[in-house]
């Protein structure tokens, strides 16, 4: 491994969250962005080629070293660490609404899920999986929520675009408001319904 790859490995080992390429570049004043990319690639290949127990994962806009899934059961049995508890259906549904509709207010979330959302929203905020991203222009100017980097980390996603596309779902999702024109949107939606 080249010296930069070694430094990056040490840095990634010492961190407990994904580190962006930009952050990694600050480690060595002489390192270029391209150099960091090459070194990261070398590190990834080294882990794969030499069949290490860990791998380099790209996630939430950054890089992190994680153990390979195949060892999870043995490590848990030996009680060296514990797996993150499963998310409840209510949590997952609320996250799903926010992930696709963000920025989205509490009222819309409650309308879609058919249940009140106060408790779930609070707990998601406390766990930093969602955050307030602004306020709506609507009456009462309610707070709008969006997902955080930690949400991506929890799901092992690089970016929100890794979420399933509308056309990949069995039923087409209504495109969210920010990205589409009102009238076309409504027409397309009615079509999808029939």
């Amino acid at each position: 491994m080249n010296p930069l790859a070694q430094l990056l490995e040490a840095a990634l080992f010492s961190a407990c969250r994904p580190i962006t390429a930009e952050e990694l570049a600050t480690l060595d004043p002489d390192a270029s962005a391209a150099g960091v990319r090459v070194a990261l690639e070398q590190l990834r290949e080294h882990y794969d080629f030499n069949q290490h127990g860990v791998e380099l994962v790209e996630m939430a806009g950054g890089y992190q070293i994680l153990t390979r899934p195949v060892y999870a059961a043995a490590i848990e049995r030996a009680q060296f660490t514990v797996r993150t508890p499963k998310l409840t259906a209510a949590t997952l549904e609320t996250l799903a609404v926010i992930a696709y509709r963000q920025p989205v207010g509490r009222l819309e979330i409650e309308e879609i899920r058919g249940v009140s959302a106060g408790g779930v929203l609070r707990s998601l905020q406390e766990r930093s999986l969602i955050e307030v991203v602004g306020r709506s222009e609507a009456l009462g100017r309610p707070l709008l929520y969006g997902t955080t980097a930690l949400f991506l980390e929890l799901l092992g996603l690089r970016d929100l675009i890794d979420l399933p596309k509308a056309e990949e779902l069995t039923i087409a999702l209504r495109p969210h408001r920010a990205t589409s024109e009102g009238s076309d949107d409504a027409a397309a939606y009615v079509e999808a319904e029939s």
Binding site: A72, A89, L95, V133
Partner: protein, 254 residues
């Protein structure tokens, strides 16, 4: 099998509807009224786009009742919507009437939308499980003695905090309205004590002397509740005659 016996079926809860004496289901299996509704439709292999409202409304009401969800406002809200829809569907309309809007359209739209969200939620759940198979570094040596990095505070964080505070505020703190509280519990105890001693009592006995409006209301609520539980019977022998409160011999619990 009674309605109070639940078996955990995490993936696909099965409900014995109609045929059996009750349900076999885990309460937590439903994340809301729309979920329960979708489940009923699936069980009966019915199309979302063409819901037989009358049938599904009855099944929903029965499910809510038997699952003990009567306390949950969200479920009751849906139940009342379904009952209203059922009534609307019964209204006569001309065969070739233009501009007739299917009263079910809104419900169908919501169900389809919710189904999409469910699909995404399942996807998210799988992604989270896959991610949970990979561990990050566990042991971190103690942090070096460096000056702390500059404090970060953002308006967004503050807004989130305000939001959390607001959710937690029990009531506006500016005004403390001390209402004369209803004390149904004491009224219940008083009635039960009286009925322990005698077979029948009168409304005025139950009320006691010097009763305030709060006492009257508390007593009335206590009587209604006890009657609902089957602990007593409320009788009025003739119109406008004083109410008679009679002890009921305890029945075996349903």
């Amino acid at each position: 099998m009674t309605a109070t016996e639940f078996i955990a079926l995490p993936e696909a809860p099965t409900i014995a509807l109609g045929a059996g004496p009750g349900f076999v289901v885990e309460l937590e299996a439903f994340s809301g009224p729309l979920d329960l509704l979708l489940h009923l439709l699936r069980e009966e292999q019915l199309e979302i786009a063409d819901i037989p409202i009358a049938r599904i409304a009855d099944q929903f009401l029965r499910a809510v009742h038997e699952l003990g969800l009567n306390q949950a406002a969200d479920y009751l809200d849906m139940a009342s919507r379904l009952v209203r829809l059922k009534a609307q569907m019964l209204l006569p309309r001309k065969v070739d009437e233009d501009g007739w809007e299917d009263p079910r359209a809104e419900l169908v739209r919501r169900l389809l939308e919710y189904q999409q969200i469910r699909e995404v939620a399942v996807w998210l759940g799988r992604a989270a499980e896959r991610r949970a198979e990979q561990f990050a570094r566990g042991y971190l040596p103690p942090a070096p003695a460096l000056p702390p990095p500059p404090l970060t505070l953002s308006l967004i964080d503050l807004l989130s905090a305000i939001d959390r505070v607001i959710v937690g505020i029990p009531s506006p703190v500016l005004h403390k309205v001390v209402a004369r509280p209803l004390d149904v519990e004491s009224a219940t105890r008083r009635i039960e004590d009286l009925l322990a001693g005698q077979e029948q009592i009168r409304w005025f006995d139950a009320l006691g002397s010097g009763a305030t409006i709060a006492d009257v209301l508390s007593t009335l609520l206590a009587l209604l509740e006890l009657a609902r539980r089957g602990s007593l019977r409320l009788l009025q022998p003739t119109p406008f005659s004083p109410m008679v409160i009679a002890r009921e011999s305890p029945r075996p619990a349903a």
